[in-house]
């Protein structure tokens, strides 16, 4: 049985942002080691990632998203604003 694992963005011990220290090729078993930053989008929660995907798929229309999610327009706009704030804080 395959288990779907979430990519952790923060250290479970001290909440500091985690780094990527190892990347592996499943084809030839080559391993690359180092210290790489997680991509910005990988630092979002699964709900936030889904919101970003929905936003792109609805061509950036908050009205369409509000209808699809069954939420009011300002609620959806607030979710977007919170993600923008998170992006600005992470940059």
């Amino acid at each position: 049985m395959s288990v779907s694992k979430k990519l952790p963005g923060l250290c479970p011990a001290c909440d500091a942002p985690l780094k990527v220290v190892s990347l592996a090729c499943e084809s030839c078993q080559t391993t690359v080691s180092g210290s790489f930053d997680l991509p910005l989008l990988a630092r979002f929660s699964s709900d936030e990632m889904q919101f970003i995907l929905d936003f792109v798929q609805s061509s950036g229309s908050l009205k369409v998203m509000a209808q699809q999610l069954g939420l009011s327009y300002p609620t959806v706009r607030n979710l977007l604003d919170d993600i923008i704030t998170k992006i600005n804080n992470n940059e």
Partner: protein
């Protein structure tokens, strides 16, 4: 009924939809208030006993709502980093007044107080129950303000309280002016 619908319906309804529903309920509240001679003469005020034409009861609703919308919209523009839409503030503030229909209905059970030193116990109970509906309305107004402006936490609370007091003062001034000039 889902708790969110009772205390934060604005998660699901805002803008023109909530404005239309809110106005319809305000119209119904004005009608019931007319029968019970209850004037909603402030953003968070109700007084009974003054007999006036029906148009005054409508004016009560519109004035109280307009004062709240004006102040909370300006507060949102000043203190929120998000884009605040007027129609969201207007719509959510209109719908936030819906518990007042119950206060107007309860008022039908009372008779005007003629002697302030001799208030019947049943009237006191009814006034306390009416106060609960005003508290519910204020809670809804707070959620309406937060959803419309995307303000959160202590900043939202401080700005909301200041705006509510300002709106109440503005509405009292507006009613003082209106009641003097439409006699």
């Amino acid at each position: 009924m889902n708790k969110t619908w009772l205390f934060n319906p604005f998660r699901y309804i805002a803008g023109l939809t909530s404005l239309t529903i809110g106005w319809a309920i305000m119209l119904a509240t004005a009608g019931i208030a007319w029968f019970g001679k209850a004037h909603f003469d402030g953003v968070v005020d109700m007084h009974s006993g003054l007999i006036t034409p029906f148009s005054w009861y409508l004016l009560d609703q519109l004035t109280a709502w307009s004062c709240a919308v004006l102040v909370f919209y300006l507060a949102g523009l000043i203190f929120s980093a998000s884009a605040v839409r007027f129609v969201d503030v207007a719509g959510t503030m209109a719908l936030a007044r819906w518990p007042l229909i119950f206060a107007a209905l309860l008022n039908l059970l009372t008779t005007p107080i003629t002697d302030p030193h001799n208030i019947p116990a049943t009237a006191i109970i009814i006034y306390l129950l009416e106060a609960l509906f005003f508290i519910w309305m204020v809670a809804l107004m707070y959620r309406a303000f937060c959803v419309s402006t995307n303000l959160k936490g202590s900043k939202a609370t401080v700005v909301f309280v200041a705006a509510l007091l300002t709106a109440e003062a503005l509405s009292k001034a507006a009613f003082y002016f209106l009641y003097r000039h439409i006699h």
